[in-house]
Every structure is written in structure tokens, then in C-alpha cells.
């Protein structure tokens, strides 16, 4: 398995241990509280704003730990170069991720158009964010494995 494939697996681990539990935590908090219309929007906005830096910080920490462990285990320089194939796979992963997010965003808008609550829209956007993250990771793993 190449270094880049391992990096994708690190992103997968980060998503599993950060985004998914955070999503579950936010859902539980939402269900346990009664929010007025204005507070509801504020609650979801804060939840999303907290997730973004949390995800970035955790990704950095886990990547550093992974690089150290990889260097110790393989005894190789882990600062692997990124070449044209890596860039192409990165772009294709991002394209698939955006496609998933756009579909989710449209579903969220349709839910509001059908008179569902604002919370439903935010829940859909939240889930879409995690699914698009996963689609990016799995796309990269697929292209690294099967070719591009």
C-alpha cells in the first residue's frame, strides 16, 4: 500500500472518530432540547462552525501521529512526493465529493420547499457533509487501487 493510500485511510479514521461521533452528539443534543425558531438556526450554525476547525485540528494531529509511526515502522522518509497521478486522483476524489454534496444540498433545499423544518435542512446538510467526505476518501482509495 502506497503512502497516499495510507493517508486516505488516515482521513477515513479521522472521519470515523471525529465527524461521525460529533454528528451523533449533535443529534442527541438537539433531541434533548427545545429550541425556538431563531435558536434552532443558531444551534445548527454553531454546530457546523465547531465541526470545521475540530475536523482540521484532528486531521493534523492524526496525520502527524501517522507520519511518525510510518517513519518508525517502515524506516523510510515519509515526506513522499506528490506527482501528476496523485493530483489527478485528488481532483477526481474532489469532483465526486462535490457531486455528492451538491445532490445533498439540493435535497436539503427541496425539504425546505416542502415545508419541512429548518432543522431537517441542517440535518441533511450535516449528513451530506460527512457522506461527501467519505465519498472523497473512498474515491481516492478506488482510483489508487484500480487505476485512473
Amino acid at each position: 500500500m502506497s503512502y497516499k493510500e495510507k493517508q486516505s485511510l488516515v482521513s477515513l479514521v479521522t472521519t470515523i472518530i471525529v465527524s461521525i461521533p460529533y454528528l451523533a452528539y449533535i443529534f442527541m443534543r438537539y433531541q434533548s432540547g427545545n429550541y425556538a425558531a431563531g435558536e434552532e438556526v443558531s444551534f445548527w450554525a454553531k454546530a457546523i462552525l465547531v465541526l470545521i476547525p475540530l475536523r482540521i485540528v484532528m486531521e493534523i494531529i492524526i496525520s502527524i501521529i501517522f507520519s511518525i509511526l510510518s517513519a518508525i515502522i517502515t524506516r523510510e522518509n515519509t515526506t513522499d512526493i506528490t506527482d501528476e497521478r496523485d493530483n489527478l486522483i485528488e481532483l477526481k476524489g474532489m469532483r465526486n465529493s462535490f457531486l455528492v454534496f451538491i445532490i445533498g444540498f439540493l435535497v436539503a433545499l427541496i425539504s425546505v420547499a416542502l415545508n419541512n423544518s429548518v432543522s431537517t435542512m441542517f440535518i441533511i446538510i450535516f449528513i451530506t457533509g460527512v457522506v461527501s467526505e467519505l465519498s472523497d476518501i473512498f474515491s481516492k482509495l478506488y482510483y489508487y487501487h484500480k487505476g485512473v
Binding site: 503512502y3 497516499k4 513522499d80 512526493i81 506527482d83 501528476e84 496523485d86 487505476g147 485512473v148
Partner: protein
């Protein structure tokens, strides 16, 4: 006419002799070739297997390493090694 020509073109794939040429050039390893042309070993593996079509720039770099023309390293539609 153009439809059949189009089919002929789309059914073909890019193949190469890199594996053969590496062995002919003092059994050069994939890692060595990768370092010279500035890509990862995995990219050389993918090119040799036909899982990745290199950019024109990379194809030229590989051909220069073997001191051959582009068409002597890569071929369009021929069987890969």
C-alpha cells in the same frame, strides 16, 4: 465512416515497453526510474500495468531516460507487456 473510425480509436489503449526497457538498461528498478523522472514508484507501477496514462511531459521524460523516441516506448493500440 467517421463512426467506425471513432470506434477503432476508442477501443485502443496506450501500452508501453517500460518494463522491458528497464531490464535492458542495467536492470533499472522502478524506484530508480521514478526518482529520475520525478514521480512515485506507484506511478511507474501504474504506467507499466496500463492503469495510468502518463502526461505528455512525463512520457517524454521516460523516453529520454531510455534514449529512445516516444513511439519506441509508448504505442497506441498495441499489446502491452
Amino acid at each position: 465512416m467517421s463512426g467506425s473510425l471513432n470506434n477503432q480509436m476508442t477501443n485502443k489503449t496506450l501500452s508501453n515497453n517500460i518494463r522491458k526497457l528497464r531490464f535492458a538498461k542495467d536492470e533499472m528498478t522502478q524506484e530508480q526510474l521514478a526518482r529520475i523522472v520525478g514521480v512515485t514508484r506507484q506511478t511507474i507501477v501504474a504506467i507499466e500495468k496500463g492503469n495510468y496514462s502518463p502526461s505528455l511531459e512525463l512520457a517524454f521524460k521516460i523516453a529520454i531516460v531510455f534514449e529512445l523516441g516516444l513511439d519506441q516506448v509508448f504505442s497506441y493500440g498495441a499489446e502491452s507487456n
